[in-house]
């Protein structure tokens, strides 16, 4: 018995003249695993979900729920999974009938359907909408109903194709948390496609970074956020500072020279050729003498404050350093009256927190 509910090996997808719009070398999903797929527009994220849901033709080997696709009844395999699309794809019918649809496809008896539909609607706090026309729902309500409809069949695998994209931040956070909890309780494996890395950090325990149909990084979201595989990933996860750089080797070791002139000794691993230095905003500290004296390896930089952006938990300070702009995230109580637009500040960072790609 395989430990994976989904295994993909050398799966490729062509669309007309466009070859390899998806090219997955290897991907496995374990039961109950929460995975996010992140990538720019056109990276193949939705296509990946459609392939997993057997909606799209592909080449290569794939096993779903331990069964080879070529030897199996696709409808029966699909019935063990559920997919929610970005569009609210509800029929012109009542909410109840929309949610009951998946159960009716499976030939469930009407008495049981009623019980299960109300339970699924109650799980997402929309049982009061049961008799309302699906076309009269608000965006948030409609998406809740879509998710309830997907989960009413108790799937083993839930595929979410950016279902929260059109929702406001509060509703999105609420829904993500509800799905996460329900998936945890029922042991449902979830693959979430998202543009928003904050959603990924909130939801997933594993993230796939997809570019041009290829998985370029497959790791824990927090690791990807601090150690992106390349510049594209760094930009996608919202790395605060991506500074062009080059490396210089001398008798003391490897030095990194940033485009803004800063040079520092770097002991971390580097895969040549390098192009940028990734410096998270929370790795830049407002300089104070004690810190610098204690940690001589730290690199000090000085610049002019361009703007202070307030936020909950951290303030963001944009500092102009020659032609470059640095972004630092500091706790609110560190932002004193001395720090305002056009004031000069000194910052420090530990080279160990820098990631070079």
């Amino acid at each position: 018995m395989s430990e994976y509910i989904l295994e993909m090996r050398h799966v490729t997808v062509d669309r007309g003249a466009r070859k390899n719009i998806l090219n997955i070398e290897a991907f496995g999903l374990r039961p109950g695993e929460l995975v996010a797929v992140v990538g720019p527009n056109g990276a193949g994220k939705s296509t990946l979900l459609q392939v997993i849901n057997l909606l799209h033709a592909y080449h290569g080997g794939m096993k779903l729920f331990g069964q080879k696709i070529s030897n199996s009844n696709k409808t029966m395999l699909r019935r063990r999974a559920a997919m929610v699309f970005q569009d609210m794809l509800l029929l012109n019918d009542t909410v109840f009938n929309n949610v009951a649809l998946a159960l009716r496809f499976r030939g469930v008896k009407e008495g049981e359907i009623k019980e299960r539909v109300y339970k699924a609607l109650a799980d997402f706090r929309c049982d009061h909408l049961a008799n309302r026309s699906a076309l009269l729902l608000s965006g948030g309500e409609a998406q809740r109903v879509c998710i309830a409809r997907a989960l009413v069949t108790m799937p083993e695998l839930l595929l979410l194709d950016e279902p929260f994209a059109a929702l406001d931040a509060a509703t999105r956070d609420e829904l993500i948390e509800e799905i996460r909890q329900l998936a945890g309780v029922r042991g449902i494996a979830v693959v979430l496609v998202s543009h928003n890395f904050a959603d990924v950090l909130h939801f997933a325990e594993r993230a796939l970074m997809l570019f041009n149909g290829h998985i370029v990084q497959d790791d824990k979201p927090e690791f990807i956020m601090r150690r992106p595989a390349n510049e594209q990933v760094a930009r996608l996860v919202g790395m605060d500072n991506i500074i062009p750089c080059c490396s210089e080797q001398d008798s003391q070791g490897r030095f990194i020279r940033l485009a803004n002139g800063i040079r520092f000794l770097y002991h971390g691993e580097v895969c040549e050729p390098i192009s940028v230095c990734c410096l998270p905003g929370d790795a830049l500290y407002l300089w104070d003498k004690r810190r610098l004296n204690q940690r001589e390896t730290w690199v000090m930089v000085e610049g002019v404050v361009e703007r202070v952006i307030p936020g909950v938990g951290t303030y963001r300070i944009l500092i102009k350093l020659g032609e470059q702009m640095l972004s630092a995230r500091v706790p609110p109580h560190h932002v004193t009256d001395d720090i305002h637009s056009y004031s000069r500040v000194k910052l420090a960072f530990n080279p160990a927190e820098v990631h070079i790609v």
Binding site: T75, R78, M83, L89, L91, T94, L101, S133, R149
Partner: protein
């Protein structure tokens, strides 16, 4: 103006008096056009659905062919059907020429492209991902297709109305393959043409009004069905 008024009065009298000949002609008109529309729906809706959902080489050519068919001149259809049904034609042995069946065949050929083209457009107007959503919810292809048809019912009923409207009003094909034989293949349109030919404009107008009333009644019924199933906004 007097002639139009006279025609309307005569039409009213014919309807009220229950003129047997006119009643038979009107009934045959509705039977022929209704059956032809039903046949065109039987072929046109699945074909429109297939065209809308299936991706294949030459799909655009097929669509243009259907769109071209929507404007097919009835006399050309009448001529082609005549050539097939004529005594020495490929289907001559069936003896269908100058029968209501021949008229139904010709009218179904006229209505089918209209029903197909408008069904195609009706299905296309639905979010293309809806079929995927239904399939991913566990629907079999048949279940998904049936739900799509139900979802596009407003557009599909419009296709039926347009198809019926086209065939009940056509005269060229019915005249060519039916022959306007009294008591056998005479329908309201061919009767109108005949009365005009004879110079009986009052009678021609009266029959036209009856045709309009018949067509309008059916369209009202279809429109009621179209909106009767609509829920919500």
């Amino acid at each position: 103006m007097d002639m139009i008024l006279q025609g309307m009065i005569q039409a009213f009298q014919l309807l009220v008096s229950g003129d047997i000949e006119i009643t038979e002609v009107a009934m045959l008109t509705l039977t022929v056009s209704g059956t032809a529309t039903a046949i065109s729906v039987l072929f046109g809706v699945p074909l429109g659905l297939w065209l809308a959902l299936k991706e294949f080489y030459g799909k655009q050519a097929c669509s243009s062919l259907v769109n071209f068919g929507m404007g097919l001149p009835p006399v050309v259809v009448g001529l082609i059907v005549s050539l097939f049904l004529w005594r020495y034609g490929p289907l001559g042995d069936f003896g269908l020429m100058y029968t209501p069946v021949a008229m139904i065949i010709a009218q179904a050929m006229i209505a089918a492209p209209i029903v197909t083209g408008l069904s195609f457009a009706a299905i296309l107007s639905i979010n293309p991902k809806l079929r995927w959503q239904l399939i991913s919810l566990g629907a079999t292809p048949w279940q998904a297709s049936w739900l799509l048809i139900r979802e596009a019912r407003l557009g599909l009923m419009a296709a039926v109305i347009a198809g019926f409207g086209r065939v009940i009003s056509e005269v060229g094909a019915s005249m060519m393959v039916g022959g306007n034989i009294k008591g056998q293949t005479r329908v309201l349109t061919t009767a109108t043409v005949m009365e005009v030919g004879k110079g009986n404009y009052d009678m021609a107008l009266a029959i036209s009004f009856i045709l309009l009333i018949a067509a309008y009644s059916i369209v009202v019924l279809l429109t009621h069905l179209q909106h009767g199933g609509k829920r919500g906004r």
